[in-house]
C-alpha cells in the first residue's frame, strides 16, 4: 500500500516539477478553431473549450493542487501542534479555552466553513489556503492534545521537569516528538483532504480563478460540454482521484506501520 501510494505521489510531484520540460506546450495558448478537439497524437488528452492543451494544463494544475496541499498541511499542522501541545501539557483554563474553540470549529461541517470564508473573503488561491487552514488545524490540535495529555505523565517528561527544564523546552523536545508519527499520518491524509477541498472550491467557482489552471476549475468548465466533449471532464477528474488515492494509500499504509493494531 505504501509503495503504491509513494509511487503515485512521487509521479505527481515529478510531473508537477518537470511538467514544462516533459510537455512543452503552453498551457495558456489558445487555438479557438480547434476548441473541444478530442484526444489525438499531437494532443494526447485533447483540447479544452478555448482550444488549450489539456495535458499541459493538467501538469500546471498539479502544481496548484500540490502547492495548496503543502501550504494547508504546513500551516494547519504547525498551528494545531502548537495549540494542541499547549492545551494538553498545561491543562486547566488554557485547555478549557482551546478545547471549546476546537469543539465549536469541529461542530461546523468543514467544507461549509471553507465555503463561507471564501465567499466573504473573495475567491483566490491565498484565500483558499487561509480558509482550509482555519478548518484544518483543529484536527491536529485535538490529536496532539491527546498525546500531550498522556506524555506529561511519562517518566522522561517528569524527569525533565524535575531537572529544571523550561516548559517550552519540555513541550518542544519531549512532548511533541511523541506525537510526530500520528501527525505525519494525519498530514498525509490531510494532503488528500486539502487537494480535494481546493478542487471542490474551484469547481464551485470559489477557488483558483481563471486563467490559472486548476483541476477543479477544469472540471467545472467540462460541465458545459458533457454531451460534446466528455474528455474535458474525464481527465482532470482522473488526475484528482489518482492523487487523492495516492495520498490515501500512503496515509493508510503509514498508519498501519505506526499503529499495527489498525491492520485488519
Amino acid at each position: 500500500m505504501i509503495r503504491t501510494g509513494t509511487l503515485i505521489v512521487v509521479f505527481a510531484i515529478v510531473a508537477a516539477l518537470a511538467g514544462p520540460f516533459l510537455w512543452p506546450d503552453d498551457p495558456s495558448a489558445q487555438e479557438l478553431a480547434r476548441r473541444l478537439e478530442a484526444p489525438s497524437l499531437a494532443h494526447p488528452l485533447g483540447l479544452d473549450e478555448l482550444g488549450r492543451d489539456i495535458l499541459a494544463r493538467l501538469l500546471q494544475g498539479a502544481r496548484v493542487s500540490l502547492l495548496v496541499g503543502i501550504a494547508v498541511v504546513s500551516v494547519s499542522s504547525t498551528v494545531g501542534m502548537l495549540f494542541g501541545s499547549v492545551a494538553g501539557y498545561f491543562g486547566g483554563r488554557i485547555d478549557d479555552v482551546i478545547s471549546r474553540v476546537i469543539d465549536i470549529l469541529m461542530a461546523f461541517p468543514g467544507i461549509l466553513l471553507a465555503i463561507a470564508l471564501v465567499a466573504v473573503l473573495g475567491p483566490s488561491l491565498v484565500n483558499v489556503v487561509i480558509a482550509l487552514s482555519i478548518i484544518g488545524w483543529v484536527g491536529y490540535a485535538r490529536l496532539v492534545r491527546g498525546q500531550a495529555l498522556r506524555a506529561r505523565e511519562f517518566e522522561f517528561v517528569q524527569a525533565a521537569r524535575a531537572s529544571g527544564a523550561s516548559a517550552a523546552r519540555i513541550v518542544v523536545r519531549h512532548v511533541l516528538p511523541t506525537a510526530i508519527p500520528a501527525v505525519v499520518v494525519q498530514a498525509t491524509l490531510g494532503m488528500a483532504g486539502a487537494i480535494i477541498a481546493e478542487a471542490a472550491l474551484s469547481f464551485l467557482g470559489l477557488g483558483v480563478q481563471p486563467p490559472t489552471p486548476s483541476w477543479g476549475t477544469m472540471l467545472d468548465a467540462g460541465r458545459a460540454h458533457l454531451f460534446d466533449a466528455p474528455h474535458l471532464t474525464i481527465f482532470p477528474g482522473l488526475a484528482i482521484a489518482m492523487l487523492v488515492l495516492g495520498f490515501n494509500f500512503l496515509g493508510d499504509g503509514l498508519r498501519d506501520r505506526v499503529d499495527p493494531k489498525m491492520v485488519r
Binding site: 468543514g110 465555503i115 463561507a116 466573504v120 471532464t233
Partner: protein
Amino acid sequence: MTRYLIRRLLLTIPVILGVATLVFALIHLVPGDPAQAMLGETAPQADVLKLRHALGLDQPLLTQYRTFMTGLLRGDLGTSFRYNVPVTTQIREKLPNTATLALAAMCFAILFAIPLGILAAVFRGTLVDHAAMTLALVGISMPNFWLGPLLAIVFAVRLGWLPVSGTGGLSHLILPAVTLGAALSAILARMTRASLLEELRELYVLAARARGLSGMRAVVKHAFRNSLIPIVTIIGLQFGAVLTGTIITETIFAWPGLGRLLIQAISFRDYPLVQGCILFISITYVAMNLLTDLTYGFLDPRIRFD
C-alpha cells in the same frame, strides 16, 4: 442515563452559540464595506447607505449582535437582499428538495454498502474481499464533483436512460442520490467489514457455529447484530458530510435545494441569505451529531459521559 442526556444537551448550547457567533462574524470579514460589496463598486453612495441601514450595519457591533441573536431565537434569519423575502421562507421552500436528496443518498448508501461489507468480511482475504474493498477505496477517493458528471456522461448522455438534471420523478433523483451516497457507502462498507470481523473473532460466534449454525446464519443472526453499533454511529456522523455534499451535488444536477440556493446567494453576494443557509445547515449538523451521540448512549449502555 438522564444525567448523561441532560449534560449532553447542555453542552450543545455553547456550541450552537459559538456557531451562531461565527456566522454573525462572517459578514464582518468581508473586505471593505459589505453593503458596497453587495451593490458593486459603482453603486451610488446613497444606495449603499440605505442598504447599510437596512442590514443594520450602521449600528454598533454589540447592538447588531444582540439583534442577530434575538432574531435567531425567534427564528428570524433576516431578509434576502436579492429576492426581498425572509431568508426562512427561502429555506423552507428549498428544504424538502434537499431532505429528499439526502435521504435518498443515505438509503442508497445503506442498501449498497452493508451487504458489500458483510460479503467482504465473510469472504475475508478472498477475491470478493479484495474487489469489495478496492471498490470502497475508489469510492472514497473519487470526488463527487467528478463522479456526478461521469455518471451523467454514461447514463444520461451515452445511454439516455436518465435525465441529466432538474427535478421531476424518481428518475431525476437516481443520479444525484448515487453521486451523493457513493462516498458514504464506501465508508460504510469498510466500517461494516471491520466491525463484523471484530465480532466474528468472538467466542459466541464460534459457539453458534459449534451448535451447528451455518456460517452465514451465524453471521446474520449473531455477529451482524452486535456489529451494528459502530455502523449506526457512522451513519449518524456521516449525515453532516451528506448534508454538505448536497451543495456540490445540487450544483452539478441543478437540483433546486438549499446547497444550490447557497451557491447562488454567494454569487449574488446576498450575505443575509448566505448567513442564513450556513447557519441552518450548521445547526442541523450539530443537532444530528447530538442525536447520534444520544442514540449511541441508548444502544450501548456502557457509554457514559464521564
